[in-house]
Structure formats: C-alpha cells, structure tokens
Amino acid sequence: MDRFIEIKNLVKLFYGQGFLNRQQKVLRAVDQVSFGIDSNTVFGLVGESGCGKTSLVRALLYLDPPTSGEVWFDGTLLGRLSSRNLRSFRKRMQIVFQDPNSALNPKMRIENSLAEGLVNRKYPIRKRTRRIKQLLDLVGIANAHRSRFPHEFSGGQKQRIVIARALCMEPDFLILDEPVSNLDVSIQAQIINLLLDLKEELALTYLFISHDLNLVAYFSDCIGVMYQGRLMELGSTEEIMQHPCHPYTLKLFSSIPGKQVVAAQDDDGQPQVSISGRSAAFVESCSFSDMCPIGTQSCCEARPSLNNIRPGHQVACFNV
C-alpha cells in the first residue's frame, strides 16, 4: 500500500425515514468509489451539488461511517480502528468548511476557537499560547488580534482563521470543502496562494472539493469527476484537461463560463430532471444514461466501471 490515502469501493447508503419503509427507500449517496491520493499532492473532486461529494468526505473521515468499502490512511485501515483509536487518528485529518461565517463560533474569541483541539489533547497552557501564535503567523493574522471575535474579521481573514484551526493539530491530510467559493474574487487568490504555500511548507496532502473547474484545474494534481455518487472519470489534471473523455466531463467543461466553447447540443432550454432519490433498481445502469448524448442500449442495462484508457486516466463509460 504505497499510496497515502487509498479508498476502495466506498459505498454510503442513506435509508428512508421510519423503520417500516426501510427497505424501500435507499439513497445511494456514494456508490463504489475508489481512488488514491499520493502524499503531498492535491486531489480535486468535481461535481454538481447533490452528487455526493460531501457524503464521500464524511464517509472518508468516518464522521458518517461508510456502509461498505475500505479507507486506507497511510497504511492503516480506518474501519478496523476502535473508536478511541480513531479519535486520536483524526488529529491527522482535518477539514476546512465552505462558509467561514458559520464555521466559527460567533461567541468565542478566536484564540479559544483555535485552542479547543489543544485543550482536548491536554496541552499545557504555555505550549498552547505558543502554538496559537505560530498558527496565526502561518496564516498571516496579526498575533495582536487573537482575542477578537469572529465578527471583527473580514471573510478572507475568517477563512484564514478556519485554516489555522484545521492546522492546529498538525495534520498531514486536509480536506478543503469549497474553501473559497464564499469569498470575494479579489480575496480568493490570496487564500489559494496561502494554501499552496502551506502545502509546501508543511508537506500537506489535500482533497480539494470545488465546482469551479478553472480553479480545480489550476490547483490540483489529479481530478476525479463525480456524478450521482459515482466517479465518472479519474486522472491527472493534464490528462483530464487535454483529453476529457466521459460525456459528462465534456458537458461540465463546456459549461465553464467565459470559455466560449460550443456546448453539446443537448441543452436548448430543456431543464434537467431533478432526481431526488436513486433507488436500488438504479444500480444496474449508467447513472448518466438518461442524459448522455452518446448513450446506447447497453448503458441502461449494465453499469460501466472505471477502466484504464491511458496510463493514469480512467473512465467509466462503454462508448469511449
């Protein structure tokens, strides 16, 4: 197991409410997802809202333990850890949330927010103070502002503090869940630069979630394209940007605004049908088959799995 993080056949199911109809309503939020992340690289996860990105992340961190599948973290199988061991293991993986305004407790001074993890690990107070100063330096917030409340900071500064908090336990794996999408355009670049610097300085590994394809293409080394709980395409950024193969990836790329690419001819005003629940019967077909421009009969009868089409480039489609 030489990859830093290895996910194998991860499945997360959500069951309908009420125990009487348990068997009837199963939502396949994450469906047989497998990928790996090398140490000190960035894996970009792209997909529309509701495609299961956040469920995948929560399952990966064992915040919502996955229904089945394996998560290997630096040679350790997370599913086999006891809950106590898992807790201490979580020091090594942290998450930065999308909205810095709701990720910080408005009634806590930021030094207390930052210290919480350290207090839980029973750091002595002097060590805590030193560590907080170090962290604030790292993300470019003046140490004099440590006793302020979150509302006294701007959005970009708050996101810096959230990043500092995620770094406080010295993790080596950071999940960035749309870290800049709530920030102003002129601030986004500052935060992205900060994240790149931190990655070099602290040898971090990132799982980067975003719907901004330009940003993912800039930021990540590998890209996974997700659609309705499944990975559709996986490969290095160069491969995916230069030779996107899956029809869904093509559709996504053609809708990047400002690129002036002629979009696939499937969207002349036709709204997408919202799929509120994917039933178990849905398993046996490609989830993109009903909207696919190159779909055939076989797409509705069997589900494609990720196949290598070039070294380091996998696509889940029969017709590529």
Binding site: V185, S186, I192, L196, A217, P257, G269
Partner: protein, 332 residues
C-alpha cells in the same frame, strides 16, 4: 421622447445613495453613471459590498427610506425620472416595465403560494386579465422558459421544484408582463455550472425575443464574459471602468480590472503563484479618501490619496477613472 432607439432605455446619472446606521453613514453609491439601450446586456461587476444590489434596488424602488436616502442623481427610464415619480405611478412601472430576477430563487418565491398563483398575480394586477386567461398566459411563459406546457409546475409549491426549475419559474414571472428592462441580480450564483449555462442562454434568448434591455449584475467575470455586451466595473460605490466586453477583457485600462482579470485561476497558470490583490474590500462606512482603490493599488501615487479621479472617456465609450492611465501600467 420614449421608444426611439437614440435614447437610452435606462440612464442612471450620478446616483448617490447612503444608509443611515447606528454606527455611522454607509455611503453605498457615490455617484454612479450607467446607460443601457434596448436589446443590450449591460453587466455590472463588483465584489460584495461594492453597491451592485443597491443599484438594482434603487432602480426598482425597493429601498426603504429611512434608512436609505437618495442624496442626488437621476434614474431616467423611458424618459421619466423614476426618483420623482409618485409611489402610485412607480408601482405601475415595477414588475410591468421593469422585471427582476433575484439571486436565490428559493428565498424570493413565496413558499405559501403555488407557482401559478405567483405568476398570474402580476398579470391580473397589471393587465386586468381574467384568472383563466392569466393561467393560459402563465402556461405559455412556463413553456418559454423550458418548463414545459403542463399544469404540474403551475400547481406546485416552490419547495417541490429543484433550484434550476425555481430560477426558471422566477424568470417566467419576471418576463410575464413583457418588461422593457430586466434586472438580473446574480441570477446564476446559487446554481451549478451546467445549469448556469442554461440559464444564461435562456436570458439571452428572452432578451432577443422581447428586445429587452438587461442589467446583469454579477461578481463572476467568467459569466460576464459569456453574456455581456458592455460591462461596468464597480468598486466601493463608484464605477471605475466601463467598456464593451471585448475592450474590457482584452484591453482593460483600470488597474483594479486588470488585477481582477489576472487573479482568476486557470489551468494555464499551474505551478505559478496567483496574482492576488492585497488587502480587503473597504466597508461602505469608511471608504478611503481619494481614489478608493489606492490602498490596494500597486501603482499608487501621491495624487491618488488626495483626489478622486474623474471618469474620462478614452475613445469608443471606453471610460475609466484613474489618474495613471497612460502613465504607469501593471506588467502581467
């Protein structure tokens, strides 16, 4: 005076709006000029707090006074100054001649009324239609925005529709009265990329169909590049640069615009650091004196701190407000 093509559809002149708050006066708009012709899409780009939404709300007359106060300027729409109209006349304009699409369709649709009731309401109110003909008309418009000519959507409550469908329903509602001007306030921000493109195309096709003028408000330069005929960049309540799409994206002349364009991440910039703009967007309560961009501008000179640069036309309607144009420039 109205209706001729030589007169702009909407002409905002030197509009100045402030808000009185307990912590001081927030000067949201400090003399902005915008000009929009029929059949044209004018994009207003800026960061949060720069005054984009205040502009659209002022045109619609949706700001409550107090706390808001219009200190000066004119909003001339089809030859009439909207700011001097009586509330009664203004209500006839709002929703009929000027339609508006809001950012979050989920928030601006009334959750307690069916979609059909919300669309027919404006038709019955403005055109004195009977309920039956209004329903027929509403169906036509739902079909037009791509929701199909069925009564299912008409009889749904907003929560039964997906985000994209809600936005389409909202667009149907705003164009139901054939407005001459459509204000779209970040209509795609809450939507996914694939839906975003569909909605942009829809707005464009409706614009052509009804030959409306569209005031398109956005913070996303990519979206603006896709849709706008002309673009104005707003910063801290002032327009810093106005130009056609091509001029603005290929040859920006204001440092703020240039830096914004440089800071957009792109696959081509991989491995290099992004050109970030240092500092933060100023609050409307304490806007820096002189050119409001001077604390963040890499080219700043002494004069920028003292005086507000005037807006000058640099040919072909390419206007900008900066002292240093032609003297100093940012190397990319």
């Amino acid at each position: 005076m109205t209706g001729t093509n030589h007169h702009p559809l909407l002409d905002i002149r030197n509009l100045d709006v402030s808000f009185e708050q307990h912590k001081g006066i927030a000067h949201a708009l400090r003399g902005i000029d915008l000009c929009l012709k029929s059949g044209e899409i004018l994009a207003l780009v800026g960061e949060s707090g720069s005054g984009k939404t205040v502009t659209s709300m002022s045109v619609m007359g949706l700001l409550t006074t107090p706390p808001s106060r219009v200190n000066g300027g004119e909003i001339i729409f089809q030859g009439r100054n909207l700011l001097t109209l009586a509330e009664n006349d203004r209500r006839k304009v709002r929703g009929k001649d000027i339609g508006m699409i809001f950012q979050e369709p989920g928030k601006y649709l009334n959750p307690a009324y069916k979609i059909g009731e919300q669309i027919t309401e404006t038709l019955i109110l403005h055109f004195k239609m009977t309920r039956r003909s209004a329903v027929g008309q509403a169906l036509e418009f739902l079909n037009l925005v791509g929701l199909g000519k069925n009564k299912r959507v008409l009889n749904s409550y907003p929560h039964e529709l997906s985000g994209g469908m809600k936005q389409r329903a909202m667009i149907a509602m705003s164009v139901a009265c054939h407005p001459a001007l459509l204000i779209a306030d970040e209509p795609t921000t809450a939507l996914d990329v694939t839906l975003q493109l569909q909605i942009l195309k829809l707005i464009q096709s409706l614009k052509d169909k009804f030959s409306m003028g569209v005031l398109f408000i956005s913070h996303d330069l990519g979206v603006v590049k896709e849709i706008a005929d002309r673009t104005s960049v707003i910063y801290a309540g002032r327009i810093v640069e106005s130009a056609t799409r091509q001029q603005l994206f290929e040859n920006p002349i204001h440092p703020y615009t240039k830096l914004l364009l440089l800071s957009i991440p792109d696959a081509a910039k991989r491995g290099t650091r992004l050109r970030a703009i240092p500092g933060t967007v100023p609050d409307a309560e304490n806007i820096p004196g002189g050119c409001s961009f001077h604390p963040r501008c890499p080219l700043v000179e002494e004069g920028c701190r003292r005086e507000i640069p005037p807006t000058i036309d640099y040919g072909d309607g390419h206007k900008a407000a900066c002292f240093l144009i032609g003297k100093k420039w940012i190397d990319s």
